[in-house]
């Protein structure tokens, strides 16, 4: 009787252990499933995951001085031949100066103090002309400005002299 009670205690403990183990195992499986589901959201190799809903709830001041060691204020020269229309769409830095694309497909080159140097390319349908600039890119290696003419369906290359 005594040994039977003892066995029952052991059985109960064993059963309890089994129940605990089952719960632990179930929890582990669920955790792994959840983790794998979460991981499936991110393509392999993603370095950073940004939670936008959490991001927009957090506000922080950031002065330009916080991330820079020196700030230069550069007014871009304003002459009739280099007036920027409807704001700046894109900027790139080249060894010759600052390329500025406005919203009317004008691409200007200014030096780093803001003095106007030249306009890159001209609108038109002829050779070397573009119908509109969707975007441009400065190639450091080739020292060329690549201009994507969206409407003219072509990609053009200019040197910094505008040729």
């Amino acid at each position: 009787m005594h040994s039977g009670s003892l066995r029952n205690v052991w059985l109960n403990e064993y059963t309890l252990d089994m129940k605990t183990s089952n719960k632990t195992f179930t929890l582990l499986v669920l955790t792994l499933l959840f983790h794998s589901c979460m991981q499936r959201e991110a393509p392999p190799g993603v370095e950073y995951t940004i939670d936008l809903e959490a991001t927009v709830l957090r506000e922080e001041k950031l002065f330009l001085e916080d991330i820079t060691r020196e700030i230069l204020i550069v007014p871009l020269e304003a002459r009739p031949e280099c007036m920027i229309s409807r704001g700046i769409r894109q900027i790139a830095l080249t060894p010759e100066g600052i390329l500025v694309l406005d919203r009317e497909s004008n691409l200007f080159l200014f030096d780093t103090t803001g003095n106007y140097i030249r306009k890159i390319g001209n609108p038109g349908k002829g050779p070397g002309e573009f119908m509109g600039i969707a975007a441009f890119s400065w190639s450091e290696e080739n020292r060329l400005i690549y201009v994507l003419d969206n409407r003219g369906r072509k990609l053009m290359a200019f040197d910094p002299e505008g040729e």
Binding site: V46, I67, T68, L76, G87, Q90, L93, A134, S137, S139
Partner: protein, 227 residues
Amino acid sequence: MASLNQRIYLYMPPELTGMEADTVFMLAEYDTAGMLVNSFLPAVRPAMMPYITSGKFWNYGSGLRFREPFGDTIYHLDKTGMRPVYLLKQGGLRFDRQDMLTPETYREKRMHAVEFTGFVETLEYLFARCLLRGKDCLLAYRKPSREGFVVKATEPGSGLVLSNLPGILLRPVFANDSLIICPLEPEEYMNTVYPGPAGSSGRSNQSGQYGSTGQPGNPVLALGKLR
């Protein structure tokens, strides 16, 4: 993999593709899940013109980065190919292609969503210009600490500020390893630097900071040399 339903053309400098200058387009095809299935191809077939905007396609290091249109992923492109770098978990702030189909859906959705207009990236930060629930906003993601936040200005609004010109909101349009450039509209700059009824007419007597042109009308650039 689901069937292809979208394709876009991008472009990149030829040194990144090893192709000739007239064949440097890149064809990117997407399946219904928005996954990229192939990448570089010469653009011998002008089947569809590229839809790219500069702000969604930017230089970083030796490569280029772009956000999958309306998608969650920001990719890095270089000579070795393409790889995902950022995942934007948009949740309820998602702005989809379908939301632009009619003016009504666009107006309705933009009041609840984030609509990205451009990205700029430094070694430390990813900045995203956007419309957040219909209002201009600058989001920042600090890479070392993996923290994202709305860049709150001193005055109402969102943007970087200069400590001596807290009323001007700066939204960067260019950055590289060493420099960040933010344009300022001339009126905004002049009214802040030279406030008062004289307005911009007062600047001719104080032309030191504004420069030697003496002409109003073109934007002013704030060039910051990064730490």
